[in-house]
Structure formats: structure tokens, C-alpha cells
């Protein structure tokens, strides 16, 4: 079982990883959009230890933390985000299109499109009769796309081993969820699809782990899909460069203080008797690890122009 200290360590590494990505923005090493999960670490960390290699995750445009928890190797992951030939996808995918077939990890940059692909992995496990599960991740905004309904209809009808993990950071770019949906939660949609739904505090990795673990076990037992909704606050803009004028300053300031999963975990660990110096060391180690990684990646070459037309097809054209 993953302890809160382990969760804290993982979250510290995740945040340090995201901060490395942040460094690539002003330098234009990441020359397009990048969507970071700072503030949302507890949700990804809550999955730690609960998934196997043969389980799949299909994630979103905000995917780095999910890749980390799925075991995607960090060196080629960061190199892909930094558009390097040494990246997981040889610099062809970039940060929104991370594919690691060895760990059954993928994502899509199109909001609302991850769940159907995850359902395909779930269908594969169901066909094979294994107890592997598929996790489809969506923001709360993505659950208003039609594909959410289509996927839940099929997954419920066929009792597919699918866990839909909804990261509810309250904003679809600028649009607050309560302005566009009638229900209090996304999870309460579950029963109409024959699924189980639960909404948890997504700043608490232990709460996420408990709810997510139950959903995974339910799927492994062949009892069908679940929706696990985890509430959180996105600390950065939707993407780096977002002016983010749509969220009140006071709301952001208060969220940074009250909804930071690292600060919350640190406080809880202290209450449980953890040594402050030890917690500092965990954070320092995480930052040193990621700084070293970033230095390595920065030394890697970018793809050369002569390969620009490669990989459209797997087979040669006659």
C-alpha cells in the first residue's frame, strides 16, 4: 500500500517535473501549447500502486502526471515534451500526444476523445477474459462532449472494465462547470449508465486512492464501469500563456493556500509526526532529480528536417 509519505514524494516529483516543463516555455524549447497539472498532483498520485503494466491509461491534453504514475520513463517523456528526437515519439507527438505502448499509456489532445479509446482497451481485456482494466481520464469539461454519453452507454451495457477518472478543476478553460451543467457533480450521472459513481476530494491522494482502488477492483471483478470524480483547482492557466483573467484573483490566491495538495499532505504528515527536515529533503531530492533530467534532455538534438515526412504509414507504398 502506498503511504502518504510515498504520495508526498511522488507529488513532489510530479511538481518538479512540471516546473521543468515551465522552464521550456520562455526559451521556446516547447514552442507550442503546454498544459500543466500543477495543483492536480494528488489525483495522479492517488493512482500509484493500483495499476499494472497490462492496465491501460488514456489521458488528455493535461497528461504528464498520468504518464508518470503509469510508469512511463521520465527521460524520453520529458524529451518528447521538449520536442527532441530522443523523445518517446521522436519529437513527432509533442506534449499532447504521448504514446508509450510498453506501458499501455496514450493520450489525445482533443477534449472528450480519450474515453472512447480507453473503452477500446477495456473491450480488449473483456474479449481476452483477463482482469486488466482501462482508465479513461477526462477533465470535467470533457464529460460534456457527446462521446462521454456514448462510451458510458456501451461500457454500462456490456459491463466493460472501464474506470472513468474525472479531474474536476472546475473550469473548461474559462467556463465554470456550474454554469453549463445542472447537477452538483459529474459522478451522479453514473447510475443511469449502470455504473458506479463517486466524488472525492482530489487534493487528498489517500481519498483518491481509496475511491480509485475500489473502482479498479470492481472493474477487475467484471462488475462494470465506474466514474471517479476528483475535485481540484488548476493553479496555472489552461495553457502556459493563458492570461487567465476569467478567474477572480481572490479565488486563485485562496486556492493556492487551501487547495495545494503538497501543502495539505505536508500538513497532514506533520500532524502525524513527520520530521520537517525529512519532508524538505524529499522536495529537494525531487527538484535535484528533475533538474538533472532537464539538463540531460536539453543536450539532446532536435529531429532533423530530413525526417519530416516519415512515419505517416507503417507499410511502404508500392
Amino acid at each position: 500500500l502506498t503511504s502518504l509519505t510515498d504520495h508526498f514524494r511522488l507529488m513532489a516529483r510530479m511538481r518538479a517535473f512540471e516546473r521543468c516543463c515551465l522552464e521550456g516555455v520562455p526559451t521556446r524549447e516547447i514552442h507550442g501549447e503546454v498544459h500543466l497539472g500543477i495543483g492536480q498532483e494528488a489525483i495522479a498520485a492517488g493512482m500509484a500502486g493500483l495499476l499494472r503494466d497490462d492496465d491501460a491509461i488514456v489521458s488528455t491534453h493535461r497528461n504528464h502526471l498520468h504518464a508518470i504514475v503509469k510508469g512511463v520513463p521520465l527521460r524520453p517523456l520529458l524529451a518528447e515534451i521538449f520536442e527532441r528526437e530522443s523523445g518517446l515519439c521522436r519529437g513527432r507527438g509533442g506534449h499532447m500526444h504521448i504514446f508509450d505502448p510498453a506501458h499501455n499509456f496514450s493520450c489525445t489532445g482533443i477534449v472528450g476523445s480519450s474515453l472512447a479509446v480507453a473503452a477500446g482497451y477495456a473491450y480488449a481485456a473483456w474479449l481476452e477474459g483477463t482482469d486488466a482494466v482501462a482508465v479513461g481520464i477526462s477533465g470535467e469539461g470533457g464529460t460534456n462532449a457527446g462521446a462521454f454519453h456514448e462510451v458510458m452507454v456501451m461500457a454500462g451495457a456490456w459491463r466493460l472494465p472501464l474506470v472513468v477518472l474525472v479531474e474536476n478543476n472546475r473550469y473548461a478553460i474559462s467556463v465554470p462547470i456550474d454554469r453549463v451543467t445542472a447537477t452538483e457533480t459529474i459522478a451522479e450521472r453514473a447510475p443511469v449508465y449502470g455504473a458506479q459513481g463517486v466524488c472525492v476530494d482530489g487534493t487528498d491522494p489517500e481519498a483518491v486512492a481509496e475511491a480509485f482502488g475500489q473502482a479498479v477492483e470492481r472493474a477487475r471483478r467484471g462488475e462494470g464501469p465506474s466514474i471517479v470524480e476528483a475535485t481540484c483547482y488548476r493553479f496555472q492557466g489552461h495553457y502556459e500563456g493563458d492570461t487567465d483573467h476569467y478567474r477572480p484573483k481572490a479565488e486563485k490566491t485562496s486556492a493556492y493556500e487551501a487547495r495545494d495538495p503538497l501543502m495539505i499532505a505536508r500538513r497532514t504528515l506533520s500532524e502525524r509526526g513527520a520530521d520537517a527536515a525529512e519532508l524538505d529533503r524529499i522536495v529537494d531530492d525531487a527538484e535535484a532529480e528533475m533538474a538533472a533530467l532537464l539538463a540531460e534532455v536539453r543536450a539532446d538534438p532536435l529531429p532533423t528536417a530530413d525526417g519530416a515526412l516519415e512515419y505517416v504509414f507503417a507499410e511502404a507504398t508500392p
Binding site: A56, S106, V117, A118, A119, G120, V153, E310, V312
Partner: protein, 334 residues
């Protein structure tokens, strides 16, 4: 080589035979779509498959095209070979997202690490069902990189191209023609004799279905049969027409067309898809790249003139290429 046992088949039977042979050979093939199971397909192209291979490998889906096309993408990534059926190609508006952003791009976006052996099987073409159920749209798929696009013109081509599509490691859009699906085998002057055994037709090779010296018609789908009928009529007038069945739009076999057109010096491209920004212009440019601007005396195209397909039969006949209109187009070439 031993002789294959051949018999007359219609397009629908040829397709279901091909899928059954492939499913027998490769248990990773899974069929998802509306009415593909209990009913065996609205045109019978998946008949008996559910009976033979069970309802997990041949799955009737709800009307959730975007959802089940995305499931096909996930199945392919998980090591399966899904065939997803979109009943009519006109419905592509509802699932295009998974087709062009995932199925077509995942191999590229992964730097070649993820294979997408997936077939999108769909029916196109005119059978009097007006603007929303008559399009062919192969030019649309061909415009978007990452998909093979095949269009069978006969029972023989339908079977061989389906086998190739299902064994391809790349995504293949397989567009069967509704008009051809409604014909009997005996209605075909070409390709009605189909081997019982498995065979493949290489994707990206055109076939010369009628040799001729005066004019080259390059076309595909139902217009191949129409062009052969037109060629018979024109033969009585002393015009000797060569008819090339392109068979696939991606890859496009411009070499075969260029070789023929360089001989006849007259090229007519017949396309049931919309005229502008499509196959007809693309093929002509590629042929000119090969034979040079002085390599041809006449070049024309005959395609759906950028208008939705109308309901009234008189209007439909006025805009959709058919044997009579193709013969007229050849006569206009002089």
C-alpha cells in the same frame, strides 16, 4: 500454382466471404458496427459472421459512431485488428474526430511506435437517396494524411481488397458502393468470377479492365462498370476506350494511368465524388508530372459538379456520372 475454384458472386457475398476468411485466419479481427451482427449488415456484407465468430468479435453497437470508432482505435492500440463499420459514409460527420485525429495520426504522432491496423468499412455512392445518403467522399479521406483509401469496383476487387485491408498494418478506409451492393454477380461485365479461396489485391495498384487505343478513362467504384458500358457503346462508333480501375485513392497509382494516357494522348477522369479540390484534379496533375505538359492532347474530368445529390431522379441523372454521361464526355474529347 493450382487453379483457384471460382464462381459467380455478388459484391455483398464477396465481402462477407472475405471477412470470414480473414477472421478465420486471424483471431485478432473484431467487427464493430450498427446491425453488423444479428442482421448481418444492412447490405448483407457481414452475414453469418456473428454466428461463426460470436457476439464479442462481431458486435452490434448502439448508434454511437464516435464512441465505437474510438473503441476501434483503442482495440487497435491494444493489439487487435478492428473493422469498424460506418453504415453510410455520409455519417462521417459524427465520427470523423476519431478517424482523422486518432486512427489516421496515431502512427505518425507516436513516431512509428504505435501501429493502427484498423479498417473503417463504409458504404457510399448514389442509389436515389438524395443529399445525405448518396455521397462517396473518398476525396475527403484522401486529403487527410494517414489513411489508405480503397474503392472496389466488382465482386472480385471487393474480396481481394478486403483481405488486403484486414491484413494491412495501416488504417484503411474501405468504401463499398451501394449501387454495386444491390447488383447481381451476373450484372458485372468484369470481376464477377470470384475464387472461393483467400486472395489479396495489392493496395495502391490500378487495374486496366479494358484495353483500348484512343482514349483513357481513369475511374473507380461503380463508374468502372458504367465506363465499360460506355466503352461498348463507343466501340460501335469506332472509339476504342481503355478503362482503368484505380482501385485505391491512397496510394494513387498515377503511373498506370500515365502510361496509358501517354499512349492514347486523351485522358478522361470520371469521379462520382465532388468535382472540385478532389481526386480528378489530383490525378491529372500527377499524370502531367509524369508525361509532361505536351504529353497529352486532351484532358477532361467528369464528376459530381459541386452540388449536393438531389432527390428527383431527373435531377440526379443530370449530375451523377453514369454510362450515358460518360459516353458523352468521351465524345466531347473529340
Amino acid at each position: 500454382m493450382t487453379e483457384l475454384r471460382v464462381r459467380e458472386r455478388n459484391v455483398s457475398m464477396a465481402i462477407s466471404d472475405a471477412i470470414a476468411l480473414e477472421m478465420e485466419r486471424d483471431e485478432r479481427i473484431v467487427v464493430l458496427g450498427e446491425d453488423v451482427g444479428r442482421m448481418g449488415g444492412v447490405f448483407g456484407t457481414t452475414r453469418r459472421l456473428q454466428e461463426l465468430y460470436g457476439d464479442k468479435r462481431v458486435r452490434d453497437t448502439p448508434i454511437s459512431e464516435l464512441g465505437f470508432t474510438g473503441m476501434g482505435v483503442g482495440l487497435a492500440m491494444a493489439g487487435y485488428r478492428p473493422m469498424v463499420e460506418l453504415m453510410f459514409v455520409d455519417f462521417i460527420g459524427v465520427n470523423l474526430e476519431q478517424v482523422y485525429n486518432a486512427m489516421a495520426k496515431n502512427h505518425f504522432m507516436s513516431g512509428g511506435n504505435v501501429r493502427m491496423p484498423m479498417v473503417l468499412k463504409t458504404a457510399g455512392g448514389c442509389i436515389g437517396s438524395a443529399a445525405q445518403h448518396s455521397q462517396t467522399l473518398w476525396g475527403l479521406f484522401a486529403h487527410l494524411p494517414g489513411m489508405r483509401v480503397v474503392v472496389p469496383s466488382s465482386p472480385y476487387a471487393a474480396k481481394g481488397l478486403m483481405a488486403s485491408a484486414l491484413e494491412s498494418d495501416d488504417p484503411v478506409v474501405y468504401i463499398e458502393h451501394k449501387g454495386l451492393l444491390l447488383l447481381r454477380g451476373a450484372d458485372f461485365a468484369h470481376g464477377s468470377q470470384v475464387p472461393d479461396e483467400r486472395f489479396t489485391i495489392e493496395i495502391g495498384r490500378a487495374a486496366v479492365v479494358r484495353e483500348g487505343a484512343d482514349v483513357t478513362i481513369a475511374t473507380l467504384g461503380a463508374n468502372v462498370r458504367d465506363s465499360l458500358l460506355a466503352a461498348d457503346e463507343l466501340a460501335n462508333e469506332g472509339i476504342d476506350v481503355e478503362v482503368i480501375d484505380l482501385q485505391s485513392v491512397v496510394p494513387l497509382d498515377a503511373d498506370t494511368v500515365a502510361e496509358s494516357a501517354a499512349r492514347t494522348r486523351r485522358l478522361l477522369v470520371v469521379d462520382e465524388d465532388y468535382l472540385s479540390f478532389g481526386l480528378s484534379a489530383e490525378l491529372i496533375v500527377r499524370v502531367l508530372d509524369r508525361v509532361g505538359l505536351s504529353g497529352l492532347d486532351r484532358v477532361e474530368r467528369h464528376a459530381l459538379p459541386d452540388v449536393p445529390v438531389p432527390a428527383a431522379v431527373t435531377l440526379e441523372k443530370a449530375v451523377v456520372p453514369n454510362a450515358g454521361s460518360i459516353a458523352d464526355a468521351v465524345r466531347r474529347l473529340g
